[in-house]
Symmetry: C2
Subunit: 153 residues, 2 copies
């Protein structure tokens, strides 16, 4: 079994993966961002087991990424709406789209991320606050930040 | 068991997750990008089981994200170097850092992604090729691309 949390890690990637580090979780979020909000529609689209979907939805609601809202009573039926915290994951998903388009999609991008306001195409790019230029990904390193533990390298 | 591939999916996020959709895989890549290249050092830093690390390294080498190189013989010892395809995942990792910093790091960012050339701070941002402005993540939708299957919505 893989652990679900990384108590030894003081790392924002590890903390994101505590929530997102599962194949289905990001695909559920992808479909929720496309406006697929109901359990049956999510399940039909993804083709995953109901108990797995229920678990992932529960976890996404618990993490504040989805909001559960009752849309019908007797029997109760809920839909799942993406919160601001969930929409803030667009750059993660678009960065994955870009990489998958480049390295895993020989026929070309299956889907395009669109800026609704102007109809342009969106990509996730590294942006530098120092020189104000997009940069080649190769020139990246990391250093301790304000939330680092003492003696963090 | 979760499937490792999504044959029904024609989606670059799903294809990326076929390779990356595992907590440890992205943490192994994170450390490899920091220059930790040897098995023992990766294992000590991550604290994961040797067989799990061996499996994830094998998968990353098979996917062309890491290169295995012998650095010692008798006994044979290999190191793992990140390829261009692996470095191209920086935007995914930085997007996760940014999100984790914002929502999961109350004490502030544990680490800062640095543009080595100028020393500036890096972030992963959605960039629009239509209006040339960074945009709010909320105004995103997707449409079929050139690699879409027929009748893709």
């Amino acid at each position: 079994m893989l652990p679900r949390t990384y108590p030894e890690e003081n790392c924002s990637i590890a903390r994101s993966l505590e929530i997102l580090g599962d194949r289905w979780t990001l695909l559920v979020l992808r479909d929720a961002l496309r406006g697929i909000s109901r359990f049956d529609a999510l399940q039909a689209g993804l083709g995953l087991a109901k108990n797995v979907l229920a678990d992932r939805l529960e976890r996404l609601v618990g993490a504040g990424i989805l909001d559960r809202r009752l849309y019908q009573q007797r029997p109760d039926r809920s839909e799942y709406l993406v919160t601001e915290k969930g929409r803030a994951l667009w750059p993660v998903l678009v960065a994955m789209m870009d990489w998958g388009d480049r390295y895993c999609s020989p026929l070309g991008p299956p889907r395009i991320a669109v800026h609704e306001t102007c109809g342009g195409t969106l990509h996730a790019e590294l942006v530098c606050d120092g020189c104000d230029l997009d940069i080649e990904a190769i020139h990246v390193s990391t250093r301790a930040g304000p939330g680092a533990r003492r003696r963090s390298p």
